[in-house]
């Protein structure tokens, strides 16, 4: 083989090695969280020693984790439902009435993705404590909708913009009213975008920690915030078991969206 061919081969081997290292880097902390959840030691150990599921039992019998999980699930569902309803309506208005006003509005509705979450958390802390809603579920819900709804809006806006407006015109000219056209033509056509946005909103809400850290109280705390506080004082593998459950929930949902996305493209 020529020298140039040898060099190219060496180059692609090196490139492959770099990619392999990056893959290990991406998976390392997740592998550690899952791995250390089955250790038989009384403290966090990776690689785990032995195999036991007792820490999952410990987590499931700890009312603190159960309550937080229940709150997180309720919060995630409520956030998703409200974000989808309000997000779909707003996106439809923005796409169907293009103009300088709706263009600015679009930027505002998407801006929580880029603006620092701490500033939002602090601001909501200030307004909630002035109105007496700090440390309550509705206060947390408001914050989660602000953080999660941009992902619904972004996804649905993109879906609506791919939609052929002639479909709606045809529906109108055949005598269907605005509401009927919206429900029968528009909504089914952007179903994939809505589902994708909804799953994203749920995952964002379920995993959110930064804004929520500012807003929790004794009556209101979520699973990520509970983990955050727990690891500062404790070193037992229960927290690894809880983390494993969170990873599985996220992975399951992402898998569902990926399959849904593939179906839309076909």
């Amino acid at each position: 083989m020529s020298v140039a061919g040898e060099r190219r081969k060496l180059g692609s081997v090196l490139f492959g090695l770099v990619i392999a290292i990056i893959v290990v880097f991406i998976l390392a902390p997740l592998a550690v969280a899952v791995g250390s959840s089955v250790t038989t030691t009384g403290y966090l150990a990776f690689p785990p020693r032995g195999f036991t599921l007792k820490w999952f039992g410990e987590a499931a019998s700890n009312p603190k984790f159960l309550e937080a999980l229940w709150t997180s699930l309720q919060l995630g569902v409520a956030t998703t439902v409200i974000s989808v309803v309000a997000g779909v309506l707003a996106s439809y208005a923005i796409v169907r009435r293009p103009g300088p006003l709706t263009a600015v509005l679009e930027q505002v509705l998407l801006s929580p993705i880029l603006l620092p979450a701490v500033v939002l958390g602090l601001g909501i802390l200030l307004s909630l404590s002035l109105s007496g809603w700090l440390g309550t579920f509705p206060g947390g819900l408001l914050a989660h909708i602000i953080v999660a709804s941009p992902f619904v809006t972004r996804s649905v806006l993109a879906g609506l913009r791919r939609l052929d407006p002639r479909l709606e015109e045809a529906s109108h000219s055949l005598g269907a009213g605005g509401v009927r056209t919206f429900c029968r033509i528009v909504l089914p056509s952007v179903r994939g975008a809505i589902i994708g946005g909804a799953v994203f909103a749920f995952v964002i809400s379920f995993d959110e920690a930064v804004v929520t850290l500012f807003l929790t109280g004794s009556d209101f705390t979520t699973l990520p915030v509970t983990i955050f506080t727990y690891v500062q004082y404790s070193n037992d593998p229960t927290i690894a078991a809880v983390s494993t459950v969170i990873i599985l929930v996220s992975a399951l949902l992402v898998g569902l969206v990926t399959r849904q996305g593939g179906r839309d493209e076909r």
Binding site: R8, F46, R97, V119, L122
Partner: protein, 291 residues
Amino acid sequence: MTATIALPRVRAGAPSRRTLLLLLPMLAIFAIGFAAPLYFVIRFSLEHFDAAGTQGASVTLEQFVTIFTTPLYGDLILRTLGLALATTVISAVIGYPLALAITRGPRPLRAPLMALVTIPMLTSVVVKTFGWQVLLSSDGMLQRTLDAVGLSSVKLLNTTTGVVLGLVHTYFPFMVVSLVAALSAIDRTTEHAAASLGSTPGQVFRRVTFPQSLDGLAAGSALTFVTSMSALVTPQMLGGGKVSTIVTVIYQQATSAQNWPLAAALGVVLLIITLVILSLQTWAVRHVSRR
């Protein structure tokens, strides 16, 4: 009758009543949950801090004067920017090869690699950071490896090194996604043309591929910079109180110290830095593409 009158007005682009009705739910949510909070952050940043909690009616710039005249806060801002810069540079260095592999690597590997990049984006930052905590701790695998090869002076947990490692892991996927978008938008015929005219793969990359991906690199860098600058969980959990940033200080001042005016003023500083970086990126992209 009403329909024929309403129609031209709608066509003129004025927001109809129906449009307003559609926008109403989201507008109401954003008014209470977004506009009002931002107003309060700005309003409180202009307050005088009083441990007794009484609120003054007057407007003062004393929080900003404190921030910009106390070396402690100057260091804090510089350290935060430094952490974000380190995170951005490392993310670009490891994100670029990965984006190349996703767009130009062996076909069967492309989709799995892309899925792999989205995993950290969609896993709870608390869970990921917890994993790093275990891995970086003094009896963790990485630290023991370092100790074994005689690098025991390098500590990982509760150091800047550990925080940067965690930040890169959390935010480099944003860089990869931007780069993948830019690299897959490049017209491959330009690369083939360069190659058929006798350029080596290295020259094709340097002269054709890389220059055309600069937009994506700028967008990814701006996004990685502003998001890693605003991280709270990673510096808090991996810094162990030894690595403070603007954000961790805002959190401490807002929750345990209850010094809302100072927290709010630091928040305004962070917000302004974010807006400046995002506008710079928009300007740069426009400037480059106009040429």
